[in-house]
Symmetry: C2
Subunit: 704 residues, 2 copies
């Protein structure tokens, strides 16, 4: 299958160049214009290296050109290692010459000052107008390990090239990207591409992910992200990765307030709220890593390409203690430690009388004299126990070549016989011995807990791959628009009712007589509430009276409320008093929307009361979304059990709740340009089949 | 200061032997009786090695004795590497000979079968009667790195001896203890003692911790624990460690159900509930590690002996990205990223115009030409920023000897000038270059997140050391005892009221007239409840009627309740009907007690409703405890804000709540031998100054 998307085609010369020009090439490999020449030469880049420097005939033994204009052949990629003041001119020359892409190491742009920002905009415009793609500026470059196209000036690579493998790494930070590269290399991670995006004048992080998702040889995507400029592109990239069943592991930083401030000060990217990122990662099945170690470990696990079909995990160890550690971790990550079949347990006991045989299985150290015992244990677990993943503890066996070899002999036949099962070890030893295990398709981790964490991640990916991504709901033509005037509670509820968020029977009364008549029509008891777009805290000013059960009481309350409102807010425009039938029972929830600076309209959901206000047990999702997604959102909060019928209550009408949430998200999306926020609090969810009802609602328009 | 406790004195010959006999000494270093002889010889044990084997004149070049009886000099420690069938006899010979301690490698005891268990009991009795201490059986041994007394048969040590340092390691698992040793050694952890306790026929984990706490040269204690046999000893050990300001880091496993089952099947130790362990670790300031990596990392950090005085953390990096990662982590662990003083920020900007100067401080890569810039940044942060800890990111600088040296030169003066400040780096490189940093007192971690996690742990230890441990409250003679009869609600409340858990005004009525009279006396409205020790679910059978506001209503309700109770539970002994004044307002809480199999009486506290029942937001504490500890417990739940006055409510009377909890804990401790459980649900906490009141209570006696 050919890769044919426009994005792929435009980025291919950058990621897989056949000809690389180095603008500002230097004879000194310690300089940013010298390092890539050295790397490309020494590490065996098969394509052409064309140094450009007007001051030299030759650079590091290669013929040098005075200018890009002197190069008469097609150039896939030009490395820009010239001073910032020359950058725009040089880029223009490249574009004129038909250069397909630039890797701009040069710094001194938006990260520096206003002049730099102006120059960066010129680069953006040049890229847009010419079609020449630009990586950076102010970036550490890009490489393809397979092609040895090391267009980077990171010194980290001097200590060792990476193992060629299926992982593509994209980072918005150069230094952090290098650190990631080093730790990944030392971890034995097989990587194919590595790219740092710098100031992103043209090529952004999301586009790199898109390239990696489309590239046939890349199987795993590891990203470091500080912000997002182009949410649509990110959705597209993640959607493609999902379609191609490629796991995406992202370390998204700046989640804390102080972290976000630090991120904002050092990149120009908008952060977007952390809730929005979580919602998007969740939707596309992205694994969000907290630490770099975790990000690399999970990518490492994915690079083996074996994803357990079920959550059935078998643990077999040579130490009871390690079994307990792994069992605890399995419980933490929700894996299923199904016990071994009783009959098989008996067989194993005959083999090793004091073995633990349930699961975790403990072979004890009895196999030291006969390693085939180990083979038999593994065989029993995979064949009879039918586990889709096996986690095993062999402590420091890989320190010794002899032990390593025996272990390999014992488990190699099993690895070969069950290629679709995952085999992951907690084992310590020399890189060489570990590499031998890895080459057979066996995963190795030092820490027993981390083995289990990785297995859980692999299973989660498999589950995610098997599920179709939700298709965004259509926005019906009938979705109401927000009028250009302040909306009082009555207006807001009517608008939301049209949008699909139900509210109860109610009437806006202008006089005590109106109110009394309405109450009689609605049925007692009723509640009266002041209606004014200028009064948002109705209760505080005595603008709400509950439990009125006669026309007389209603008339009296009408007058009292009016008097209090006029006193408390003499300048408020009062639209009347709302008469509503009182509702009993049901579960109190809160629905709302707000605007995220990057991802736009977001919907919020939580239970009312302490759960939302004290514990912050709420869920967020980018609008719009359908009912199935709304249901996932409802089930994701900790307090979901209350809706499901905890504490002896009737199960609540979560279908109606999901419909309201989805419809609210569609309403928000349809009014994305004018809506600031919606607050439906409370939204009462009644018993199954009885629907839900908004008791209060507030809609705020954007102020501009 | 001399170490003089009896425990210390009795264990000193084990931990620091001058003469070691090896019973079952072998010429083959691959055998368990040969390995220690080899290790003691090769690694330079300065004391005497006395091989014992009747079949040889000489073992590994050392004169061999036919029997322990032939050794005419005092033996501190005898390694037992003989078959299980000989173990008891050999141990008895040792005791008769005055051997001070045995390290019993021999397996085949309680972990194997009933005969083995019997033999193990003989060993226990021998130890108790003779005063000779026994480690194991079925253990991997013990070593002191300083004395090179490697009385172990773990092969792990053949790959390298540990760095001598301040950490003492105690493990209940041999294989896991070895794995811990290997990873700790490779991490560069300086360790002094390592001990594995095996079947614990005599010496238990807690006693080892106690020895390490008392030992002057041990500064940090790292433990792996599966269960606890002797809670009092553990309290004593942890209390001593606290008094000596020694951090204790414990990886306690078996926290999950399946993990606990696995632990129970492979050791004989009782697990104790995880909540109880958490409560104890919390009390003594123990750091509970989830992963082995975390346990080793935190121990490593502690081994430097610098504990930040405050939570003020300065971050200085050469990469904005790493700064964001560290800032996120600082937020997660609650460290204070106070900004640099404005004036100093200006100075730094003059030094490096594009530096980030707030905190995180980003030097950018500008110091490569002048490393004194780095010195100036560090100086400014410690001198003017006044941070007690500095976290810094230098990526893979330690890969290069030259870069390492420059970095050392730049920061060494700072390290020397501010010895009481913590300096921790995220840096990758060769072990040699990392060791140079460590030797200067600078901490090194690969992962930037993990630097911050460690700093937070160090600060937490410092805070813990500065606080006195709570003294257990006295149990007053007036504490009521539980009578030997089933207790109905009325009895339970009266008993608890005597114990210090208040309940409201109420009266037990036998007739409708009694009830009506009582109601008039108490004041309306009242609630009526059936009282019978045989009926625990009163509400379900219609045994509770609320809101009665007249004598007529009370008489009617009395008869109805009685009729329903007789119908629902014809055989129940009915003691009458409880008339209580109805209470309004306040915050609903739940107090309770239960028995932990290891730690005894435990007190539980939570808010009523969803928080406890759905979210499990509850706190536990081992009884008894005082009011200050009770207050800590109250504040530890997530829903504490509700009591503190969230959602516009009055703050609740938490002092009264703390008093009730503490008094309940004293009541439980005083009745430890007869009490099964107490359930006070709900306990209403009223407004500040108005106290609390138990609305319902259930006390259950132990069934034996």
């Amino acid at each position: 299958m050919a890769n044919t998307s426009d994005v792929y085609k435009s980025l291919e010369p950058l990621f897989r160049p056949k000809t690389i020009a180095v603008l500002g090439a230097s004879a000194d490999p310690g300089k940013i214009g010298g390092r890539p020449v050295q790397l490309l030469k020494d590490f065996g880049f098969k394509g052409k290296i064309l140094p450009v420097n007007p001051n030299y005939e030759e650079v590091q033994g290669l013929k040098a050109y005075a200018s890009i204009k002197d190069i008469k052949e097609p150039v896939d990629q030009a490395i820009m290692a010239v001073p910032a003041r020359m950058a725009v001119q040089v880029a223009e020359d490249c574009a004129a010459q038909g250069v397909k892409s630039i890797v701009a190491f040069t710094s001194g742009f938006a990260e520096m000052d206003a002049d730099g920002e102006k120059a960066q905009i010129q680069l953006s415009e040049l890229a847009r107008d010419s079609g020449m793609r630009i990586l950076g500026p102010n970036c550490l470059g890009v490489f393809s390990s397979q092609d040895a196209s090391y267009s980077t000036f990171t010194a980290s690579i001097l200590d060792g090239r990476p193992k060629v493998g299926p992982v593509g790494i994209a980072s918005q930070s150069g230094a952090f990207g290098s650190h990631c590269f080093v730790l990944a290399r030392e971890r034995g991670l097989g990587m194919r591409y590595w790219v740092t995006t710098g100031n992103e004048c043209d090529i952004g992080f999301a586009e790199c992910v898109q390239f990696l998702a489309e590239d046939e040889e890349t199987k795993v995507i590891l990203g470091y992200m500080e912000g997002c400029r182009d949410p649509e592109r990110l959705y597209e990239a993640l959607s493609l990765a999902h379609a191609k069943q490629k796991p995406v592991i992202i370390m998204k930083v700046g989640g804390s307030d102080v972290g976000a401030a630090a991120a904002a000060s050092h990149t120009a990217s908008l952060a977007g709220s952390d809730d929005a990122f979580d919602s998007i990662f969740d939707k596309f099945g992205v694994y969000r890593a907290t630490t770099l170690r975790e990000a690399i470990d999970i990518s490492y696990a994915c690079s083996f390409g074996v994803y357990p079909k079920t959550d059935r995990l078998g643990i077999v160890t040579i130490s009871g203690g390690a079994g307990v550690v792994m069992a605890d971790a399995a419980a933490e990550y929700g894996l299923n430690l199904a016990p071994m079949p009783t009959k098989v347990q008996k067989d194993l006991k005959e083999l090793v009388p004091f073995a633990g045989t349930r699961n975790p299985v403990d072979t004890t150290a009895n196999f030291f004299n006969d390693w085939t015992v180990l083979t038999k244990f593994f065989e029993a677990m995979l064949e009879k126990g039918n586990y889709d993943a096996i986690a095993s503890f062999f402590t420091y066996f890989a320190q010794s070549d002899a032990m390593s070899e025996k272990l390999m002999e014992a488990i190699r036949p099993i690895r070969k016989k069950y290629p679709d099962r995952l085999m992951a070890l907690s084992i310590y030893g020399t890189r060489e011995n570990i590499a031998k295990l890895e080459n057979e398709g066996i995963l190795a981790f030092e820490d027993p807990h981390e083995v289990i964490q990785a297995i859980a991640a692999l299973y989660r990916f498999r589950k995610g791959f098997s599920q179709k991504l939700p298709t965004p709901p259509k926005i019906p033509a009938s979705t109401p628009s927000i009028p250009k005037k302040p909306l009082n509670e009555y207006d807001a509820k009517r608008l939301l009712k049209k949008a699909g968020v139900p509210s109860g029977r109610e009437s806006l009364a202008k006089t005590p007589a109106d109110a009394a008549k309405a109450a009689a029509r609605l049925g007692f008891p009723v509640v009266l509430k002041i209606v004014s777009a200028d009064i948002q805290h109705k209760t505080e000013i005595g603008g709400v009276v509950l439990g009125l059960d006669s026309q007389t009481a209603v008339r009296k309350a009408f007058n009292e409320i009016m008097a209090r409102a006029v006193k408390a807010a003499p300048n408020a425009k009062i639209d009347g008093i709302l008469v509503s039938k009182m509702m009993g029972g049901g579960v109190e929830t809160i629905l709302g929307t707000y605007r995220d600076p990057v991802f736009g309209q977001m919907v919020m959901f939580g239970l009312g009361g302490v759960l939302t206000e004290v514990l912050g047990d709420v869920a967020f999702k980018v609008a719009p979304f359908g009912r199935k997604e709304a249901m996932d959102m409802i089930k994701s909060i900790k307090g979901y059990a209350v809706l499901a019928g905890a504490r002896g209550k009737e199960p609540a009408d979560v279908d109606a709740l999901a419909a309201a949430l989805s419809d609210l998200s569609i309403f928000a999306a349809a009014n994305a340009d004018t809506l600031e926020s919606v607050d439906v609090n409370p939204f009462i969810v009644r018993e199954k089949g009885k629907g839900g009802v908004a008791l209060d609602a507030l809609i705020i328009r954007q102020s501009n």
